[in-house]
Symmetry: C2
Subunit: 233 residues, 2 copies
DNA sequence: CGGTGTTTTGACGTCGGTCAATATGTGTGG
DNA sequence: CCACACATATTGACCGACGTCAAAACACCG
């Protein structure tokens, strides 16, 4: 992870998507003065489970996986964070060590914002606090949904859901392949299963024309079919 | 669910445990004037998935299960809320319909607080907003942990963990049985498995002297053994 | 072109879900 | 207090889903 080009938060587009938009001009200025823009190459880590975070990271580009290592040695990917999302918030707010590791899935550009600016604004600007709260409430709902899926759906259903999720949140390239390319292992870690199980399901899906593949790229061929599968038909 | 005895929030002990403690005297007075104390009998519902909540519920006594119905018709219990916890916050803050159902596990006493008091205070008192934020951050961490457990641990490990959780969070009675009595079905729904599987594991645990039972009551006999099991030894 | 790391496929065993039958409560009204 | 109806708990038998180990096919890179 190294320093990159300089920009001002005030004119940063990604701000529109996250809670920083609730900051006043002056607050934003302070943040902008104290932030550090960094580039993170694919596979590099932004922070690790257990780290004490001294600030949050605002994603300007690329995608990060937030994962947690379980006792049996497997990574579980809990969330994928993309442009506009702020990561590390939870730990900074709860004043705890990081609960998850953040790793770049592809080349990224992130802004590190020291926690002082964040905490300060939280304590003085209720609009900002409420905005952050709203985002956290949304994350919590999503996490609850994942819990239900994990415990009640089969691996096949979850793989189908994962593909639909990837399409809806990261889109497709011009050839109809998912824009976000994940290794089979990463897909398995999102779904919470063994890599081989995941691969087997992928080839089954391909045989049944639900999806198409090209190298590690995956394209959705029959969205309706996948949806039905995910719902359990 | 019906109305019960009247009390003032200002002198309510459970307030110490939740975010209401960050309210000013005047704010608390308003809340107290607008709140409604209700009793909920075992098995009754406080709200259902999909309901539009017009306020939050502060638990004064008893325990509520927060669960979500999955497509296959099974309930997944996502959280158990006890004395001092506030439920429904997430939905009110996100201005969404309830994501989970809340049902009384035993007889409860709850205070309904109209959302206006809450939203108002959020928008004007940063201390309160931050306090709520901290609680939500804590819930989010717990949810992430549950996700990892659900996907990476065996049912046996999760049952062991559930018992330890119940002991640590709800304590034991004088005879060493878990103070919170759940039906086998509820235990299964916490763990995310079929009732029969859960029962089978319980009898195995009993045979191996990890736990003791008496009716539907369960007591922990070998805490260390359960811990080792939960960790995967 | 060999070497390293992913992807794919096969074979096998076990965990856990389902259905069905039986026991054990638990509450209700008589 | 009993008898009946009904809910909950327990056990057995069966089978499909999934994890694991091992090997082969394929890609990528120097």
């Amino acid at each position: 992870m190294k320093d990159g080009i300089e920009t001002r938060c005030e004119s940063c587009i990604v701000r529109q998507f996250n809670s920083l938009r609730a900051m006043s001009k002056e607050e934003l200025k302070k943040v902008s003065d104290s932030k550090i823009t960094k580039t993170v190459k694919k596979g590099e880590s932004i922070f690790e489970e257990g780290d004490k975070l001294s600030g949050v990271y605002c994603v300007r580009g690329g995608v990060s996986k937030l994962s947690k290592l379980s006792a049996n040695g497997k990574d579980q990917i809990v969330k994928l964070a993309t442009k506009g999302e702020v990561i590390g918030q939870r730990s900074v707010i709860a004043e705890e060590h990081a609960n998850l590791s953040a790793t770049a899935v592809n080349d990224m550009e992130v802004c590190f914002i020291p926690k002082e600016s964040i905490v300060n604004t939280l304590n003085t600007n209720p609009n900002f606090a409420v905005e952050v709260l709203r985002h956290m409430a949304h994350d919590l709902k999503e996490a609850d949904d994942v819990i239900v899926n994990m415990s009640q759906k089969t691996v096949k259903q979850r793989v189908a859901e994962a593909f639909l999720y990837l399409k809806n949140n990261f889109g497709e390239d011009k050839d109809g392949f998912l824009a976000l390319i994940l290794s089979r292992e990463d897909i398995a870690n999102v779904v919470g299963t063994a890599t081989e199980s995941c691969i087997r399901i992928i080839s089954e899906f391909k045989k049944k024309k639900y999806i198409k593949t090209s190298g590690k790229k995956i394209g959705i061929a029959d969205e309706r079919g996948l949806q039905d599968l995910a719902e359990g038909f």
